[in-house]
């Protein structure tokens, strides 16, 4: 198998291997990690939970941010009701309490959901570094299939163990369909 090289003069983003099945990709990711690589990524057309284990991914910050967002929404929603009705515009209606907690629950609840939901979506996108329309991996022509039916693994050149020749040879040993250098 020949490696599709970019050109020898310019630095590259990494080296990418293409696989036919999800099983091969998961196995390749596991062996890449075992070989000591850390700056690599796997690409699949749908989520593969086995990759989370194989690549040791467990980032729970989205949940944390969502919790914080929800709490802020909760406090903010109740605070909005209470401040408006008791401080900004206190109206004595038949001597009823100004801070009438049960009546403020629906809006408190809606604000909790609103802020938590927006936080979940926005924090997911931000931590994924999206939106980012251009990325070096798109330079590999066959990578268009990553969103269709093929599975890819890319070892990035900023990994300490990266070597243009040896890493390509290592990826070839994983029995991929094709190996290609990724132009930066």
């Amino acid at each position: 198998m020949s490696v599709h090289t970019v050109d020898d003069l310019h630095p590259i983003y990494g080296i990418m291997a293409e696989f036919e099945t999800p099983g091969e990709l998961v196995e390749a990711a596991r062996r890449t990690r075992e070989a000591g690589f850390r700056n690599f990524d796997a690409y699949s057309p749908y989520p593969l939970h086995e990759l989370d284990e194989a690549m040791d991914l467990h980032d729970n910050r989205v949940s944390l941010f969502t919790l914080i967002g929800g709490l802020l929404g909760c406090v903010g929603g109740f605070g909005l009701c209470a401040w408006c009705m008791a401080v900004a515009l206190p109206l004595n209606i038949g001597g009823r309490p100004l801070v009438s907690v049960p009546m403020y629950i629906p809006i408190t609840f809606e604000c909790t959901i609103l802020i938590a939901g927006l936080t979940a979506a926005i924090s997911m996108l931000m931590m994924n570094g999206l939106p980012r329309p251009y990325h070096p991996v798109f330079n590999v022509e066959r990578f268009a299939n990553a969103s269709r039916n093929k599975f890819f693994l890319c070892i990035e050149s900023d990994d300490p163990g990266f070597n243009r020749v040896d890493t390509a040879r290592f990826l070839e040993s994983l029995d991929p369909e094709e190996v290609a250098e990724v132009a930066r």
Partner: protein, 461 residues
């Protein structure tokens, strides 16, 4: 998402996705509807009709802005006419979309994967239609922003103890979260379209919309977490929205509205009408776009079962309403329910019972659940029945209140009908545009249902 569990009784009705599909074929089939397929004459015809009907809304809204709400049939005592009937009906229809996309995701029902995108889009468009009515009903829609709390020179704040303000928060939150959930679900499919489209403008458009999604495992992990969280948040939200809508009625002191059964009964009714609407729209969609292999009989069968179950809850609600009226020993409550059943609007009430209590009983039979044409007809009947339910609740409770001297009748005017049919046109126009420009079925979730899509061997060997 785990492997779909195939129970024996489900296999009889068929699999979630027909055999013979591969990762490439589902992508090309669903994406091809948007990218490759020529705009069919049927689509143009349907779109044009919807667009013409949409003009009803434009004309009636213009007339309303010129003349005021007097052009509608509302009066005193019936101040809540078509505007509120249609508002509740539309928002109820939206609820099935969230139920399918969020609650069934949490319950790990893999069959939802083929229909959730479409159902969610339906939610968005239905909530848009719903939201128009209260705004038009204010009479001065250009001041609709007064509904929101904002610092103003009048030094006034909205009344946070009013269910009508809860509605503002509930509906706007519902729309926002539904839109976010829907868009997040679209991102991977937009990336598929970006990568498979051949035309430059399509690549650029879908590329911008996909935000550079590249299917990285690190991204998928956070993506799945965010989806699950959004589903978990949308689940109580959808229940809360129709509960708050029912509070608009239940918190008032009016016989026929002031009952504790309203929140659960409204939520069940919402899901009931929503599933009926999904069936009404999905059956033609799968027929005209040849999607019988991804929207299978199992989907239709399951949706009919959910319609039956929620229909029974709604029927229980009707019985309880009558029982509460009788058991209250309150002359006004008793009169209200008697007037509802035998008064001038009795025909509406009994048609509603026919549509909502008798019709769903047909769904007990598998032969009917699996007969596509009959199922479609019954779903239309259910939609009409649920619209009548809202009409009966709003109008018959109001038109004969405590003092006979202030009794009156309510009949919609031509402007009421034009506004209502106009929103139907708006809804269908949006649906037609949606199925033309975006993938109406979640491609990446379909891939997960395919045989061979899972990693067969355990990784720790």
């Amino acid at each position: 998402m785990q492997q779909p569990v195939e129970l024996p009784d489900r296999i009889e009705v068929g699999p979630v996705i027909d055999e013979g599909h591969s990762l490439a074929s589902v992508s090309d089939k669903i994406g091809g509807i948007v990218l490759k397929r020529k705009t069919t004459l049927g689509w143009i015809f349907g779109f044009l009709i919807s667009f013409v009907v949409l003009q009803n809304l434009m004309a009636s809204a213009t007339w309303l802005f010129l003349k005021g709400v007097g052009v509608w049939g509302i009066n005193i005592p019936v101040g809540w006419g078509f505007a509120i009937v249609n508002f509740v009906w539309w928002i109820g229809i939206g609820h099935a979309g969230t139920l399918i996309s969020a609650i069934l995701l949490l319950l790990n029902q893999s069959w939802r994967n083929a229909i959730n995108r479409f159902a969610e889009a339906m939610t968005l468009f239905a909530v848009m239609c719903a939201g128009m009515f209260p705004v038009l009903h204010t009479g001065r829609p250009w001041l609709a922003y007064w509904l929101f709390p904002y610092p103003n020179t009048m030094d006034l704040w909205p009344q946070f103890r009013s269910p009508l303000l809860w509605d503002v928060f509930a509906v706007s939150t519902y729309f926002t979260i539904s839109a976010v959930f829907w868009y997040v679900g679209l991102i991977p499919d937009l990336a598929t379209l970006r990568d498979t489209s051949k035309k430059r403008w399509q690549q650029v458009t879908f590329g911008l919309l996909a935000m550079g999604w590249r299917g990285s495992a690190r991204h998928w992990q956070r993506y799945e977490k965010a989806s699950l969280l959004l589903a978990g948040l949308a689940t109580p939200l959808v229940v809360s929205v129709h509960t708050v809508v029912s509070f608009d009625f239940a918190v008032s002191m009016l016989p026929g509205w002031h009952t504790t059964i309203f929140p659960p009964y409204f939520v069940a009714g919402a899901i009931y009408s929503g599933f009926a609407m999904v069936l009404s729209l999905m059956i033609p969609l799968r027929h005209f776009y040849g999607l019988q292999d991804v929207i299978t009989m199992r989907h239709l069968n399951n949706m009919a079962k959910v319609t039956l179950a929620t229909g029974l809850i709604v029927g229980y609600g009707y019985i309880m309403e009558a029982f509460f009226g009788y058991f209250s020993a309150d002359v006004y409550e008793k009169f209200m329910i008697w007037n509802r059943m035998t008064g001038p609007y009795a025909m509406f009430y009994w048609t509603l019972i026919l549509c909502n209590v008798i019709t769903p009983q047909f769904f007990w039979f598998k032969r009917i659940r699996t007969n596509v044409f009959v199922l479609w007809c019954l779903s239309i009947v259910v939609n009409i029945g649920m619209w009548l339910e809202r009409f009966v609740i709003v109008i018959t409770s109001l038109h004969r209140d405590f003092l006979p001297s202030s009794w009156s009748m309510y009949w919609p005017t031509v402007w009421d009908w034009l506004t209502f049919t106009g929103t139907l046109g708006f809804f269908m126009t949006c649906i037609f545009l949606f199925i033309r420009v975006l993938p109406s079925i979640t491609i990446f979730e379909l891939r997960m249902l395919l045989p061979g899509a899972r990693v067969k061997e355990p990784i720790a060997q």
